[in-house]
Symmetry: C2
């Protein structure tokens, strides 16, 4: 294939051929056929040029008003909407995610809504927690700090995409340029999104390198990128093994890196809840596990239940539903082989396969899989039984009582979410009180009577959690304003002359509506 | 020396002999004589027991009210005041810092004030940024997350002390137990402070292991401690080399570690300011560099000035003052040898020594040292010229103009502070506009016309900055409420039943005064 047929990269405001000589093709998971065109594997020269351009753009962005950042994000949201048909088709082709409702009616509106929330946050500036100590004349706020590299995941081509999703929106809203690294399973969708972003850049007059796009890097160049002195921070959503390598490189260079890694999202199902509403809980669980063929970071992969008849009924009901439902198409053959490998690991450790467990012949699919293990066995090898089976699979741990269930919870690693289903009658309240503290400590988000797969773009969301679910338990990847704090430095102005202060810290409230902490009271008033 | 004469460690509510067999003595820097008693070097068994006890205390602390945490911090402040004579004497003996005004009139009141601010923050809960999305019924706040190891520095025996200072106050106010690691230069002061803290624990009925104290660890045990699964986080203030080793161990285990490392705190002195007020600026600089014999994290160790007569006059004025002033006693012979080694490094790189540069015969002291180098030479070896000379020494970089000064600033590593002195007439405004952006990017706190050595315990303080001044530019070590966020995890409650929510997130405002972000508006009202 000649150079001309390989897709261009976006560096410093120009779509141009990559300097890299290698290329790759994505494939349609539904047909297992490769897709055209080919995309380049960038070499260090691409990265180096993108970093130079991003560093320059970061300096220029410091003089760009918050309103203009907001305008850009809103314009991009509008462009995504006006190209929604094409985007949805492209994403469907590359990921096999259903067009409706998933891509067209859920993920795309979520993405544009998120961009508009980020725009509103950029305009108001309240996210920056402007803080004034009037007596000491010391003032501080969070401020953007430089180029951010965003490594997007395979499972949300729009909403977590490297040039359209949560990390992107947060980095831009705080005034930082983004170097997007497309997920290699949907390069065409990402290219189209970058094209729209670049159109919005030109219309809004932002620096040309505010958004750049590469598709794939050599592993060593990825490590070099996240530790480069020109980069301020990186954000990565994906597999634990690759994420921890990037973390190690970034840590050694003192660079913040925000990770969203694996999570099994434990769900505790107490007997009283099953006595009351076994079918409803089984139904919610079934829908949550199989939604998007289970390819969510918050997919409930681990159920903890107490031995007894109600739990048996629950397991039977879920098994029946799993068997009856057709198994969905997975995002890639890579996801398929990881999933069967994880099921094998769990099975070899001693989990019984109640249904599924095998690849579906001739398709990029694995049968809907439910497994079971006793609490005792889990406690013998807690690490093995926390192997993430990313996809349409779950493991039920049957504990012999509340104390053993508590031990199981205490053996858990950090997770994004944890749920407890309990009786509405109060019959499970004692068990809840015993189990909730251990679970709460180990998760970012605790739910009651609700499955974790809906991650609302809410001001109160925590889509994060203790290591190894993420790299730091104080940050969230979703939710505005909080997710914006990741891409900023806290900057203090001590005795700085009034006309030299950022507008957020001047005596006059810059918008009349910005929330500021003045002398320990939150207010929108002028000083 | 028999076991009985070695000071005990405080583990799990008991002052008892260390299991370690080695011991050390601190010494009086003023006389260079060793002090009694000896203190133990703990082995892993001590650490292991402290970690077990701390993990247990962390669970118990989760049920302790915020008011009780406040009461404890206030009681400790009161006990420190009622034992101030003894504390000040002890600290003076171990550090040679002057009794008055430094220890008695500045650092001790700062410490008790900081504890009381932390108490107020604990009681109000506003630090936790309680956030409610009423429509989605999603609620979140920051919450304490477990045991914190605090490694205190040599230069502030009270205010940054491992069982009395900023990190300690922040960790306790957020509901976490502390394992203090005393600085080995003042173990007696820290022992006394731990004794007072333990009295306060008993009176307030807090878990016995809320505060524990070790004095010295084998290096490998320090690394093991900060990466131990029972620990939630660590805080370290001290030398860069030791800090980065701890960071590396903590990072690999996914544990947050908050570092305050070296900083040269650049001060830009523009010619117009010197035309207007050369003597005053020289005087402020002189006082700031020599205060506490220069042993502050925010000591202004690097001046950037523009070539010309006013800068020559400034350098001459400072040199005269440095020569006339007696050189202070340093904190330890270790500090003394590090300081002379740093001066040698700067000198070998090409800095001219204008005064000082040598140890004072028979004393733990180094002559007040001023050095000079050209901007060009600095740019040839920017790393060497940023060697921190911790103590009463500073380097003046004379740039040949504003563009070269900007290059010097752009060659700087991350620092805690940066200052610009400029003419009140406006004569330096153009230079300010050119230099301030580059400096602001590289520091946590930007000052105008003011030296950086006063670090107010202010709600708007940022005592932190980009790497390698600290490990993350978004956190501050001083200032309440912001410094408390370091020792917490963001925890979200999604659809959690009302009576199971933390009081901060219930519909009713728990104090009537807690600031909460409800539907994107800050309020103290009930929901």
């Amino acid at each position: 294939m000649s150079q001309g047929q390989t897709a261009p990269v976006l560096i410093n405001g120009a779509w141009r051929p990559s300097s890299g000589r290698k290329q790759f093709c994505s494939s349609n998971p539904a047909t297992l056929q490769p897709l055209q065109p080919a995309y380049p594997v960038s070499n260090w020269s691409d990265c180096d040029q993108a970093l130079d351009a991003a560093a320059d753009a970061a300096e220029k962005l410091r003089t760009v008003s918050r309103d203009r950042l907001g305008e850009f994000l809103e314009m991009l949201a509008g462009l995504i909407e006006s190209h929604s048909r094409e985007l949805v088709q492209l994403a469907h082709l590359e990921t096999a995610l259903p067009i409706a409702p998933r891509l067209a009616d859920v993920e795309l509106p979520r993405t544009t809504g998120q961009l508009r929330q980020a725009a509103a946050a950029a305009r108001s500036g309240s996210w920056a927690l402007p803080t004034i100590d009037s007596k000491a004349n010391i003032r501080s706020c969070y401020m953007g700090f430089g180029p951010v590299a965003v490594f997007g995941p395979n499972n949300f081509p729009f909403a977590f995409g490297s040039v359209s999703g949560n990390d992107f929106a947060a980095a831009i809203a705080t005034g930082n340029p983004v170097i997007g690294k497309a997920n290699t399973s949907h390069p065409g969708t990402t290219r189209k999104l970058a094209d729209l972003a670049f159109q919005a850049i030109e219309r809004c007059g932002l620096p040309a390198a505010t958004v750049q796009l590469l598709y794939r890097l050599e592993h060593e160049d990825g490590l070099r990128m996240v530790s480069d002195s020109r980069l301020a921070a990186a954000a990565y959503t994906g597999s634990r093994s690759a994420g921890l390598k990037l973390k190690s490189a970034a840590d050694a260079a003192g660079k913040p890196i925000y990770l969203e890694l694996s999570s099994v999202n434990p769900v505790v199902v107490l007997p009283g809840a099953l006595e009351e509403r076994c079918d409803a809980v089984a139904d919610e669980f079934f829908s949550s596990v199989l939604m998007g063929t289970g390819q969510f970071c918050t997919n409930p992969g681990l159920v903890i239940a107490l031995a007894g008849q109600s739990t048996q009924r629950f397991i039977q009901a879920v098994t029946d539903k799993f068997k009856q439902a057709a198994s969905g198409t997975l995002l890639s053959t890579g996801v398929q082989s990881s999933l069967t490998a994880a099921i094998d690991t769990l099975n070899r450790a001693g989990a019984e396969i109640l249904c599924g467990g095998q690849s579906v012949q001739g398709r990029c699919s694995v049968g809907n899989t439910l497994m079971r293990v006793t609490g005792q066995r889990f406690l013998d090898q807690p690490e093995a039984f926390q192997t993430e089976a990313f996809g349409n699979a779950a493991l039920v741990v049957v504990a012999d009582g509340v104390p053993q269930a508590e031990l199981v919870l205490k053996a858990l690693e950090g997770n994004l979410t944890g749920c407890i289903y309990s009786a509405l009658s109060g019959a499970d309240d004692e068990a809840y009180c015993c189990l909730a503290p251990a679970l709460t400590q180990r998760v970012g988000r605790l739910l009651n009577d609700k499955m974790p797969t809906g991650v609302a773009v809410s001001s109160a969301m925590q889509h994060g959690g203790p290591y190894p679910a993420t790299g730091h338990p104080g940050f969230t990847a979703v939710g505005i304003p909080a997710s914006l704090l990741r891409f900023s430095k806290l900057t203090c102005f001590d005795n700085v002359r009034p006309d030299r202060l950022p507008d957020l810290l001047q005596d006059k409230n810059p918008t009349g509506k910005t929330w500021r902490l003045i002398d320990l009271n939150w207010t929108t008033a002028d000083l």
